[in-house]
Symmetry: D2
Subunit: 365 residues, 4 copies
């Protein structure tokens, strides 16, 4: 009830704090019989890991997964899977030194307002380190989807500040990886992204952007009517990410500028008796249910709140003061967030698939 | 599980189809002691009602609420509230005449793909008529929020096609209503919206746009960490609306273009010991929890799928054909959707408030 | 959240009050393609109906089902099914005449204590009339289970006051019906039950008893580990019935008196490679999961609270007074409750089946 | 969805296996500001611990709690609490030696049937060791209830095989502890319980019994109508315990033998304007909602499935064989299960309290 669980049939519960004794994730409802080991999960964790290059924070975190339960002889049992991560580099004092002030645009104030207290040693559950647990669960969902349905999920950095990349929905993960850690398949723009982020770092500032993501091979029929539409679930999943401020499905905000005659996706006969659409402004979802076309979304992230310029704020006692962050922080989290967006996409699709299989059976899935 | 329920503490379940024997809504968890009668609900229903002027469809629907249970002597009992609506103008044949083709960008194909069949007499649960039930529930939530917390929720049409209105977050409902059914407080732009929609209607086409919505007086502390963040819940609520394709909280996609030093909201001492922010790019939500500033969102709607130009499509048998809609349809649903967006905002806030009161008690709410 | 919903994949939400404008039930998650009409539901409603003979209350209620949505051309659509019932014989004054006193062992006091008010015109949601909605939903679940899995559910009156019937788990519904409305397949004991209830009625008193129920043909594998065990779900389902005070699965309380060597069910090879148990003290459930043997339960019901002898009680103002019920009331609800117990069994099994099919697929179901 | 979560507002998720890398529990929704440390939890864990005397198994398990998150400076933060336990004495081979046979009346067969595989190294999630997590969560709930509402929960061994103790609902925990590890306040019967269990152990057999539990100080108004009645929730909680076969609330099965005139609890004016009942056959719950009287339940446990006599069973291949357990096992788990029953009672009450506070506010709680 206080928010640590996502999904209905493929249920994910994350736990732990950024600077405590570790964190982890429990997956409830994973089908049995899936070959699963750390080697399926670690690559995604590595893509999320900080300290990987000049673009990223130099903090070291040991994002090494330990599978505690739910897997036996390398295969999922069907019972709940628990995975845990150590917090290797806990530095509680770094945060304590902030004293009682509220860092602007962090969750310090709202946690204090909500609970009447907050973690003394870091962001608590608001820390972006919580997403390590999401990525691990997402890797399991991704493997299930790939194994059972042939689904492929690819995300990329689509925009940094005002710079926009041109990316086709047929993009492969290899293309995304081709330009290094920046996670952008548009080589020219990838270089400009890197350059821009380096400049922002030098300025002691931070920068936001947009991540695009596509899921191909999603069968028609996933998502439920009314409130549990597939796009509604994706919206919640994405906006639940730290710093996410906007979500688009298919044509998104630009679709609002089109007329119906220009926006509608014509149905045409496809291969093997399938029905496909000539265009995909619907983003693979119509009436909240997948139609078999690629599921396409975009997620806007605000710039990281921690920059090095002096800022106005107040203390817990309500006294005006100023604050300037110290230490090392990411000027841009977009490249590391790509795998997190993919993970949330995988969790949504996996949950919708199991719900559909439960209600309708395997005939139609 | 198949999607007809929204919320955890203030739970709303809608039921019924557009062309069957009626539809309705059940509210589970409404606090007892709230004075409530049809007069609290009907005005919102009337704002949603079609056939109100030259902008709208001429179909008549009798959106008159009957409170079936949960209210006694004009006051809520605390037990579940059931409200029902008759379907006065059922015309099952109008849809049957479509034969077995899939209307482009409707849910015909995806329902068929999901369930192996679909309602013969209309959009079934995918019909936008389902939102009458949301509006009725939202009116109850709105009254609760106003009565207990002094929350005020105001929505407006912010954009039609490429035309954008200038609207301040201090806008009142009276200002929104001042320019007639178009629901836009910017008088000059309201006139242009009306003109544009009339032109689109004459073209036999349809048009989309953006709705803005603000909730003022929301206490700090609503929303839960991680997955049930207030903005994540709002995102799901809004994207679950028919034709919604995009969601923004606070600065949204434009925030992705700012640097951290320009985006952060400075905390400053406010009246009566409160902490306020100098700007509100966070949209009243930080770390997924309300901070006491106005909660601001924007929702993008694609153009209505039903227009009168010929379209390519296929039949259930997979044969290519063409389709041109007949009858009367809204060229633009934005004005009618304003109250629906407000209703979903109210449902999200009411649920978050009861969850917060349950966990933390009344001291901090 | 305030309790009107049961199940996860096959979700049932009931609504309405005993003396308001009607009541009903929504089924969310019903598989598509099930032939369904009132004729599948009415027979179970008729078994629950009062006023059927000398054993029962003479109040008339019109328990005629109307299917409002979710069924098209006699087949379920997969979208939510809404069924409604009129309240034909509302007599709000009958209850208003009670004035402000709390009827002993009714829910009058607890509803007042919980909500600070209560329905003026009857038991509100605490009325046993609410079970008409459960029976209707149970009939749908029963048909699904019979059609897809061949499950057969049979309940009977096993005990009235101190009189106990001898009933084998192989009992058929025809045998239960053979002795009339009393719903007991043990002919000799059925006659004594009738005689005893007639005597209790003459005394102006009421009497409780025990209902037994068996589900045959349940496949192995239904139920989930830890908290959602099949027997735990059945326990909640049964104890949620009005007047239910005890629940047993398999050997129940008598099993507590056996030693392990006498209680364990030996596994033996069964027909067609199946594994069966020589005895069935486990009641078809081991570790919370069905094992393929008949699922057997027993439910104890206290005597109806409304009898005609004078009783001590207090008024809302806390003043001691006496109360003696008037009008016509059932001296024993056991015969009418048999179909309600069966309905709750069906709802539990149907939900567990869809959950299992979702997680594990159809291979093993 | 596969069962590892209990509760709605005070949500408990347990994880881990008996012989893997450890297990734990997450509490979601715990109110902030509760002083909490291992010292609040360890005493209850110690009461559950095996190997405490001649009555119990000699296996050593290290049930020492580590609070991983959610507590800061000795006080709950309001965010989720994670507690973990090491598995000190893992002996995977002990189970592997069983080969592929199904131990009678264990969950071996049903897990295999459900998932198509099962843990090779023990009972997996079906192991009673999982209850260590429930006890830890229950200790938190118990402290919350005691601190905020003054609730006191006391359980005891009420019956062993056919021996029944006489215990009043006013029993204290000190009285229960007075007769040693047997957890029975009736000194004479406690001695006979000990004697009986010793004899059963000598016979290489096991024995079941009944646990009674009372919660005093529960405010009126907890529990929700229809499906989430307080007694229905308690029934699910108790029957979800390993080896539980029966549940009674208040008069239970014996109440089914009384007439209404003998069973009803007369209301009488109580101290300070309260309304109390002269008797308490309702067990503190009427219409599913607490009435302020002591909440009383009884839970029947079958004898432990692992005894040392030879038993018929089959192998995974379906071949008949015999099985005789080796090693050390409890002949009677009742004394250790007392604290587990108390824990589940605490979880149910705590969840119902927060739900009530959420919906109705603090005025009435």
């Amino acid at each position: 009830m206080s928010g640590n669980t996502f999904g209905r049939m493929f249920r994910v519960t994350t736990f732990g704090e950024s600077h405590g004794g570790g964190l982890g994730v429990i997956i409830d409802g994973c089908p049995p019989g899936l070959p699963l080991g750390p080697e399926d999960i670690q690559p995604d964790l590595d893509r999320r890991k900080p300290g990987q290059g000049p673009l990223a924070s130099a903090r070291r975190e040991t994002d090494v997964v330990t599978i505690l339960s739910g897997v036996d002889a390398g295969v999922t049992l069907g019972t709940s899977i628990a995975m845990v991560f150590q917090n290797a580099d806990a530095r509680p004092k770094a945060y304590a030194e902030l004293g009682g002030l509220f860092r602007p645009s962090h969750a310090d104030f709202t946690y204090q307002a909500k609970y009447g207290r907050r973690a003394s040693s870091g962001g608590g559950r608001a820390s972006a380190r919580e997403t390590v647990a999401r990525v691990a669960a997402g890797a399991v969902a991704r493997k299930l989807l790939a194994t059972h349905l042939g689904v492929e999920i690819v995300g990329w950095v689509a925009q940094v500040e005002d710079l926009c990349a041109g990316v086709e929905p047929s993009v492969t993960r290899a293309e995304v990886a081709a330009n290094g850690l920046i996670q952008c398949p548009d080589a020219a723009m990838a270089a400009r992204f890197v350059e821009r982020i380096a400049k922002v770092r030098k300025d002691g500032d931070t920068v936001g952007g947009v991540i695009g993501c596509v899921a191909r091979g999603v069968p028609p029929g996933l998502g439920d009517p009314v409130f549990d539409k597939l796009d509604a679930t994706l919206a919640a999943a994405m906006i639940s990410l730290p710093a996410a401020k906007g979500f688009e499905s298919g044509s998104g905000f630009s679709g609002a500028q089109l007329r119906g005659s220009a926006h509608n996706d014509a149905f045409v006969p496809g291969p093997n008796g399938a029905v496909v659409t000539r265009t995909n402004r619907s983003g693979g979802i119509q009436g909240g249910i997948s139609n078999g076309m690629p599921v396409t979304i975009r997620v806007a992230f605000k710039p990281v709140a921690t920059h090095f310029k002096p800022q106005e704020t107040v203390t817990e006692a309500g006294v005006a003061t100023t604050f300037a962050a110290k230490g090392r922080h990411d000027p841009c989290v977009l490249p590391r967030a790509v795998v997190i967006v993919e993970a949330m996409m995988a969790l949504c699709l996996c949950d919708a698939w199991l719900r559909q299989r439960g209600q309708v059976g395997e005939r139609l899935v």
